[in-house]
Each structure stands twice: as C-alpha cells, then as structure tokens.
C-alpha cells in the first residue's frame, strides 16, 4: 500500500514476466510512453485496450485573482492531459469498495434529520428564493392553511385574529410585491392578513417598527376579511374561491378608489401635523399601516371607530355586490358574511383594549431567531410538540423561504396556541399537523 514504484520496477517485472532482457524491457517501456506522448502532442487520442485513454483537452482562458496580491490575472488558454481509465481497470482498482452500492435515502426521514442538522449550524445567509416555490407556498397557505384557520377561529375571533398576523418585514415585502406583481389572489390574502396584523401590532409593543408610520384612519381595512372564506380542502373549491377573490378584488379596487378620495380629505383635516402624500397606488399601504399609528395618536381612536362602523356598512354593501357578481359561490359568501361582522366589531374592541394592555406577554409572540433556534424547537416550547412547527411556518412563510434554514435574526411570529389545532395530547391534531408537514416538505422538494 502507498508504495511508490518507479520505471525501474516496471521494467523489472516486465522482463521477468515477458522473459525478455532487462535492457529490452526498458527500451520497450520507454518507447511505450514516448509513443503515447508523441501521439498526444500530435493532437491524437491514445487508447490502450485494457488500460485507458489518454487525451489532450483544451482549457479555455479564464480570469482569476492572485491570492497574495489580490491582483486580477488572466489564466491563458492551455491544454491538459486527461487519463480516462477503462471500466476493467476501474473495477480492479475499486475492489476494496466493490461491495458497496448506492443506497436510496428515504426522502422524508432524511429531510427531517437534515432539518435538525441544518438548524444547528444556521447561518445568516439567506437562501436563494425560487419564485416558483414562493408562489406554490403562497397558494397553498392562502387556500389551505389560512382558510383552515379562519374556519374554526371565527367563533372566538380575538385569538383568531392574532394567529394570522405578520411581522413588519413580511408586510413590507408583501407590499412591495403587491405593487410589482399584480397577482390578485396574493394581494387579497396579503391584505387580509395585514389588516389583522395591524391589530395585532397594537398588543405587542416590542415589535421593531417598519418605519412606515402614517396615521390615517382605515375605513377600508376591516372589510378585507371578506375575501377569506372558510374552506376545508383544496381542489375544485379552490378555483371557485379564486374566482370569488378575483371578482371581489375588482369591486374592491373600484370602491377603494372612491373611498380613498374621501379618506384623504378626512385625513388632512383630522391630522394636520401629518403631511401624507397618498397616491393612488399607496392607498393600500396606508390602510394597512394606520393602526399602529393610532396607538400613538389618542384623538384618532374615536375617529377610527367611527370609520369602522362606517366600514361595516360598506362591507355589507360590498358583499351584496359580490353576491350579485358571482352567483355561483353565493353560499360561500354568505358564510363569509356571517363571520365578517363579528370580526369587524372585535377589531374595534381590540383597538381600545389593547391600548390599556400592551405590555402583557400574550400570544401572538414575536421571537427573534437566534443561533441554534429552529421552528421545531419553538413549536415544542410554545405548543408542546415539535410537529406544530407547520403552523409557525404558515404564519411566517413569507419570511422563511426554507424552513430547514431560517436566517439568523428573523423575527418569527408565534401564533396563539389553539386547543383545537395545537393540542399535543390530541392525536388528531398531531396527525393533521403531520399531514401538513409532509405536504410542505414535498412542496419544498419540487
């Protein structure tokens, strides 16, 4: 093993085996390699049976950097010799490992292991985000996860609203994306999320602000939950919902333009100290932001509640519009209607309540990802079981392109625990979460 033989050893063995003089053997071996070399430099490919193929290949010029000086240098085009062993030689050499065969790894099991491993060595580098994946998750969550939440959350809206809010970053990115792409479904789901977020933000004081503060009453905001209809599963129903969303968006866009004008006027009179420059595009943004500002501006609360009740009417109006436009999905919208009213009311209530009680450690929490933190461990800490990380992921999916590697410093929002979903003692909850987990994983893989 690891002995270095020389030409001498080769000729010795050859003379022994071939029964020829050492001198002849040496001459033979020398010419053997000389011929290979000569042929190579004539641009030929030399193939020797039972051994392998020698070939000259061209290396294209490329730029490089001198490591010590940092100077850019160009590596000129050159040639290099390659030796490709024949299969028989390869097999002969590989005898010590020949019993080993490639083994297919079980995708899911391994993924889970990786999840643990990767998060141990989490780095701050953000993994490149593939657009397709993003869109996939978007669709998935907006139809399945999110709507699932609304479905049973509605009976107790105060906690429900919390569980869907977002972190400031998320909102910013979603806003940006909204203005860039005009993906309708995304817009609606985002905005409804955002509207909740703003409520939520009032109760959590320690969220770093996104810097987009503008106190403007938000008459539009509470109406957004209209777009979310309870829906148990994906599939055909999803497309119907999509249809409703698109059509209601159209109505909303028309309606919001008008509303924006009124709003602007009221804004200017009520809050003179703020010079808001609301352009048509910025309307949506403004509506979303309003709530946290009202936190600081006392006088506004009253105005806002006013506006909310106003919105209440508008919501009804709008719903009727929607119903007429898409008679197909009337049933769905009616169910949505029922849920919307209590929501609007509770958001108003929350606004008042949250003002007095902002310091209490209540859900939803916002957690900054530190070294070694991972979604599964957060889930274990707050919900009592690792598998419920899927809900944390669902609530933060825009911030987390890859749940296996969450960048350091990411502010993760932990939705409030829901006994009907995140009960570690309920096997049904766990199996449901597990199903979600496999779904998410398979989506990430594709």
């Amino acid at each position: 093993m690891n002995t270095k033989f020389l030409l001498q050893d080769l000729t010795d063995q050859l003379s022994e085996q071939g029964n020829i003089k050492k001198k002849d053997a040496e001459e033979f071996v020398k010419s053997f390699f000389k011929i290979i070399e000569d042929a190579l430099f004539q641009g030929e490919i030399v193939k020797i049976n039972g051994f392998g193929t020698f070939k000259l290949i061209k290396v294209e010029p490329r730029k490089s950097v001198n490591v010590s000086t940092g100077q850019e240098i160009e590596i000129k085009e050159h040639f290099k010799i390659t030796f490709t062993p024949e299969q028989t030689l390869k097999e002969l050499v590989n005898i010590p490992f020949s019993h080993l065969e490639p083994v297919q790894l079980d995708g899911h099991m391994e993924k889970e292991l990786l999840d643990e491993d990767l998060s141990d060595t989490e780095e701050s580098g953000v993994i490149e985000q593939s657009k397709e994946l993003e869109v996939d998750t978007e669709e998935y969550t907006s139809t399945d996860l999110v709507e699932e939440q609304t479905e049973y959350i509605d009976p107790q809206p105060s906690s429900a609203i919390k569980s869907k809010s977002m972190t400031p970053n998320e909102r910013e990115t979603s806003n940006r994306r909204d203005s860039e792409k005009t993906s309708n479904t995304e817009k609606t789901s985002n905005s409804s999320d955002n509207s909740r977020y703003s409520d939520n933000k009032r109760s959590i004081e320690n969220i770093p602000n996104s810097g987009m503060k503008k106190p403007i009453p938000a008459p539009q905001r509470p109406s957004r939950p209209t777009y979310q209809k309870p829906k148990p599963s994906m599939g055909n129903v999803f497309w119907i919902i999509l249809l409703v969303i698109v059509s209601s968006l159209g109505i909303w866009a028309f309606w919001s333009n008008r509303e924006a004008m009124n709003e602007k006027q009221r804004k200017m009179t009520a809050l003179e100290q703020f010079n808001s420059t609301v352009d048509d595009e910025g309307d949506e943004k403004d509506f979303q932001i309003t709530v946290d500002d009202s936190l600081s501006v006392e006088a506004e609360i009253a105005a806002k509640i006013d506006s909310i009740s106003k919105v209440d009417k508008l919501v009804k109006q709008k719903e009727e519009d929607v119903v007429t436009v898409t008679p197909k999905s009337t049933v769905k919208i009616e169910t949505a209607k029922q849920t919307i009213k209590p929501k609007v009311v509770t958001t108003a209530k929350r606004k008042v309540v949250a003002r007095t009680n902002t310091t209490g450690v209540t859900f939803p929490l916002t957690v900054t990802m530190g070294k070694g933190d991972r979604l599964t461990m957060l889930s274990l800490k707050y919900y009592g079981d690792k598998v419920f990380w899927v809900y944390i992921y669902a609530a933060n999916r825009k911030l987390i392109p890859n749940p296996n590697n969450v960048p350091l410093g990411t502010k993760i929002r932990i939705p409030s625990p829901d006994p009907s979903r995140t009960d570690p003692n309920n096997p049904e909850c766990i199996s449901k979460a597990k199903a979600l987990q496999t779904k998410i994983m398979s989506m990430l893989e594709n």
Partner: protein, 97 residues
C-alpha cells in the same frame, strides 16, 4: 490512435513481431493495473504518475425526481502529468497560438 495503431508504432521502434509486441503491451498494462490495484502508485520519469485516488462518499440528488442517493466511497485510478510533460504542454499551447 487506437490500440492497433499503438502496437504498430511500438513494433516499429522495438524490433519484435506484432504478436509479441501486443503481448508485451498487454503485460505492461496489466503490471500497471496490478500496482494500482494494490493501492500503490507508479511514477514514470518524463511522463507522469499513475496513482489511486479515493473519492469520499457523498449524497447525490436526482434533479428530475428529487430522490436522494448515498454514493459509497470508491477508489479511482488517476494520472498526473510529470513536470517535463507539463513544460511540454505549456510550449505546446504557446506553439498553437
């Protein structure tokens, strides 16, 4: 250049008949193969070094299906050109251009 041409060329430089030359060539390669299979290396002055490299095990993913495979470690015969060969390669490149 195929094996046949190679043997013919050697035959011209070494005064031996075709069959004998082919036999000797086969013998030479089998000796090299034997050396390599024992994990040793063979350095030919003015030409280069034949040696065995170990490739570590790795996880490979089929991009089409997403299946993950554990590829076992393996030993691979390799060739490294010697210094005189490298020099010739350099001049060869500059001759061309």
């Amino acid at each position: 250049m195929k094996n046949k041409d190679f043997i013919q060329k050697i035959q011209q430089t070494v005064s031996a008949n075709g069959e004998r030359t082919a036999e000797l060539v086969e013998m030479t390669t089998s000796i090299i193969a034997k050396i390599l299979s024992e994990g040793d290396s063979l350095a030919i002055k003015g030409f280069g070094t034949f040696e065995v490299k170990k490739k570590e095990e790795r996880v490979s993913v089929n991009p089409a299906t997403g299946n993950r495979w554990m590829i076992p470690p393996k030993l691979v015969p390799g060739f490294k050109p010697g210094t005189s060969m490298k020099d010739k390669l350099k001049t060869y490149s500059s001759n061309e251009y």
